[in-house]
Symmetry: C2
DNA sequence: CCCATACTGATAACGATTCTCATTATCCTA
DNA sequence: TAGGATAATGAGAATCGTTATCAGTATGGG
């Protein structure tokens, strides 16, 4: 399955104050948070990490590592694959990025600063990924788990299907004439 | 993460008539279905496929391919890895087995004859896998998808957490004395 | 029994990710 | 501001699960 990167709709706050989200501001926030996190544990920061974080936030959405590598290398050809993998892992650890593994076997990362938990709708036609939240489902999950003696730590909910666009463009649409 | 194979509870019919499910009867059903399916499309059947199906049903639960390979080879050392992979794919195609990919990167198969749809609870402590069904959650999924213009074809819901056993055995349990 | 053709086994290849290790960069201290 | 401890890097080898290749084998209809 080919998966295409796209954000669902960006949530905008009602105030309009902190709504500027072209990636730049978020990248800055992320870099600050990363800096603090590194310092706390005696780690160093580096040019590569900065480039990677900025590129990552510039891409937005659900970024596959190889795509990120390509973009980063357009800016600095010497950055190695290993470093990108290492850095993304780091970002995940410090809470700046969330790793996702859909059904195509590669890890994607999504920026997480200021974003709340959500699940995904994935179009099996065009690969579009849409995010959604549903409080009721979350509650039911917790309840079901509890009824089996489990305490939920995390979950994965992915809905695979065809988006409206793809369904419209599909054979089987009842249009007798070509 | 290590994942341990185990079925949730087997559903037994109220009649008690078709309740014999030690794997043998199911294996037979599966073999019959496979036979018919192969014949329909001019494919041939083979000793290897029989061995694999029987072993697979003998194991029950969520069977990782490498585990299946090991067991099959205990019966017939010449069966190759490739054949096991090929056969499991075949079984999936003809509806005898369902492939599952949890978060540890390997494909597991579960027997599907006479079993209905369900999702999974996975213990992050001991790897135990428990199955559950929840009609309400399914409904909500369909509704949420529809509200985003999607028509659901399939979904994946996995709840990760700690089972009661593991929680009991855990540090943090408030038992002041050892 | 024969033959077309599907199936098999062994192994190479694959894609995503991680590891290794020699080299380089960072940053704390004097 | 130089020195040094040590974290980070790059390049490529290694790993893991899985699939492809291809020559040899087995199946089953005629």
């Amino acid at each position: 399955m080919r998966i295409v990167i796209s954000m669902g709709s960006r949530r905008r706050s009602g105030t309009g104050v902190e709504a500027a989200t072209d990636g730049k501001g978020e990248a800055r926030t992320a870099l600050l948070r990363l800096g603090a996190w590194l310092e706390e544990r005696g780690l160093k920061h580096s040019r590569q990490r900065d480039v990677i974080v900025e590129t990552f936030y510039g891409m937005g959405g659900h970024v596959p590592v190889d795509g990120l590598v390509a973009r980063v290398r357009a800016l600095d050809a010497r950055v190695s694959v290993a470093t990108v993998y290492r850095t993304m892992k780091l970002l995940a650890e410090c809470g700046i990025a969330v790793p996702r593994r859909f059904d195509d076997g590669q890890t994607r990362y999504e920026p997480s600063t200021g974003r709340s938990h959500h699940d995904h709708l994935i179009c099996t036609g065009c690969g579009r990924i849409v995010e959604f939240e549903n409080e009721r489902i979350e509650e039911l999950q917790i309840r079901v788990a509890r009824s089996h003696g489990f305490e939920v730590e995390s979950h994965k909910l992915e809905l695979y299907g065809r988006c409206d666009r793809c369904r419209r463009a599909e054979p089987g649409a009842r249009d007798p004439r070509p």
